[in-house]
């Protein structure tokens, strides 16, 4: 099958690549760009461990082809930190014990990043709703909500 050329901006860096059409975005990120913070948990679009932000929207990178992101802007967990400074959400997960094994964390962070960009004063219900596509097997979710609330408060204060 003919390869497709794509030009894509990932975490602020331009990449040009030749990809097979069937290459999934998550494999492109993990194998081609070696950005392994984006995880694979289920293969069937259920867990959200592979969530990335494309042009401001959180989507599951296991349910997209790399060919589809030609000309688009992607943010992965590796791009959240700016100039050595953690994003408030990253701090939140850290401070509020929002992670145990950490495998779901990048997906939770990316979902939260897109969500808080549009709403820095969310209610607990809104947070639970926003994150309902992400699966965590360890934490019991309570602290993940707290981590979001922590980040929202910091963002309201102008943390970033």
């Amino acid at each position: 099958m003919a390869k497709i050329e794509i030009n894509v901006r990932v975490n602020g860096v331009e990449h040009r690549a030749e990809v097979e059409p069937r290459l999934l975005l998550v494999h492109f990120l993990r194998e081609s760009l070696r950005l392994t913070g984006t995880h694979i948990g289920c293969d069937t679009s259920h867990c959200g461990a592979c969530t990335v932000v494309i042009d401001g929207r959180a989507v599951k990178s296991c349910t997209m082809f790399a060919a589809q992101v030609d000309g688009r802007e992607i943010l992965t967990v590796e791009g959240l930190e700016r100039d050595g400074k953690l994003h408030p959400l990253q701090e939140g997960f850290f401070q509020e014990h929002g992670l145990q094994c950490g495998y779901c964390t990048p997906g939770m962070l990316m979902t939260g990043y897109a969500f808080l960009n549009g709403n820095t004063a969310p209610t607990e219900d809104e947070i639970r709703h926003a994150i309902s596509g992400n699966l965590c097997r360890c934490t019991g979710y309570v602290n993940i909500v707290k981590a979001y609330q922590y980040a929202a408060a910091r963002l309201r204060e102008g943390g970033v």
Binding site: P21, R22, L24, G48, K60, M64, Q68
Partner: protein, 291 residues
């Protein structure tokens, strides 16, 4: 979990996509949101040799009102509907529906038109569009044509769309005053298909008598189900408690569920009864200007 190989096309204009479809023949598949197609390809339940990605076609992402109907373009995502003030205020049934489809991440990518074009009776929009009496606009080398939603679903995973047709737009008639709708879905968990779902859209006259009723049922039949008997029953009746009760029993009888992991047929039929009653009550409240 890697799909079989395929050739990928990303046309930049609608006419280009149309001619590609004509050229590639019936094996080509259209990729819009891909949230049903790609999982099927990964599980190798579908292995199309050609994919026509319509995401780069401009001017297909619109939600607007014109000539008495709401128009939803082929690339409108579920989350676009979710945040649309137009939909939120004037099309409550639609707003209800979009909020309960899959999960928020999927909704950021999945398209409304794709949800219909897939022809899956377990999807949520089919019931809603049946209740709303929507019209489908399809485009092909022969030009555009309109398909009534009543004629759109022809079988399990099959629709009236021809292999060379693209679902370009959904038109939902703007409800007249004193209209209200609601969608209620019982799902085991977020992201699951409905165990059963009920879409109701009604219009009342000044005296509270039902002038128009649309009722669609989700995942209780092979083909998305328009509950015509319920609709006929409701028309011309004042919608009091007795009418609601009777209508919900007719809906239960009209459904054709099967036993599966989500529950027994009896359970689902009972669920249709309960959900129909609740959806009707909510639709009536909304028609009367309530929440």
């Amino acid at each position: 979990m890697i799909p079989r190989g395929f050739e990928y096309f990303a046309p930049r204009a609608l006419n280009e996509a149309v001619s590609l479809l004509q050229q590639l023949g019936p094996d080509a598949k259209i990729l819009s949101g891909g949230q049903s197609l790609i999982p099927m390809m990964k599980l190798r339940l579908a292995s199309p040799p050609y994919i026509v990605d319509i995401n780069r076609i401009p001017d297909l992402n619109y939600v607007s009102e014109a000539n008495g109907s709401l128009r939803i373009g082929a690339l409108v995502r579920e989350s676009d509907l979710e945040i649309s003030p137009l939909v939120g205020s004037g099309y409550r049934l639609l707003a209800d529906t979009t909020k309960v489809i899959a999960d928020p991440l999927v909704r950021n990518q999945a398209t409304v038109c794709g949800n219909l074009a897939h022809g899956d009776p377990a999807n949520d929009h089919p019931a809603t569009m049946l209740a709303l009496e929507a019209t489908i606009v399809a485009i092909s080398p022969r030009g555009e044509r309109e398909i009534s939603i009543r004629d759109f679903f022809t079988g399990l995973f099959s629709t009236a769309l021809q292999p060379d047709e693209i679902l370009k737009e959904i038109r939902v008639p703007t409800p007249p005053p004193r209209s209200g709708g609601a969608y209620l879905k019982m799902e085991r968990k977020v992201g699951d298909y409905a165990t059963a779902g009920v879409a109701v859209q009604i219009t009342l006259d000044e005296a509270g008598v039902c002038q128009r009723a649309g009722v669609g049922l989700t995942n209780v039949s092979f083909i998305p189900l328009k509950a015509a008997k319920v609709e006929d029953f409701l028309k011309g009746k004042p919608l009091d408690a007795a009418a609601i009760k009777q209508a919900s029993e007719i809906a239960a009888a009209e459904s054709q569920p099967m036993d599966d992991i989500r529950g027994s047929a009896d359970y689902k039929r009972d669920l249709v009864r309960v959900l129909t009653a609740r959806a009707l009550k909510q639709a009536i409240d909304r028609a009367k200007g309530g929440a």
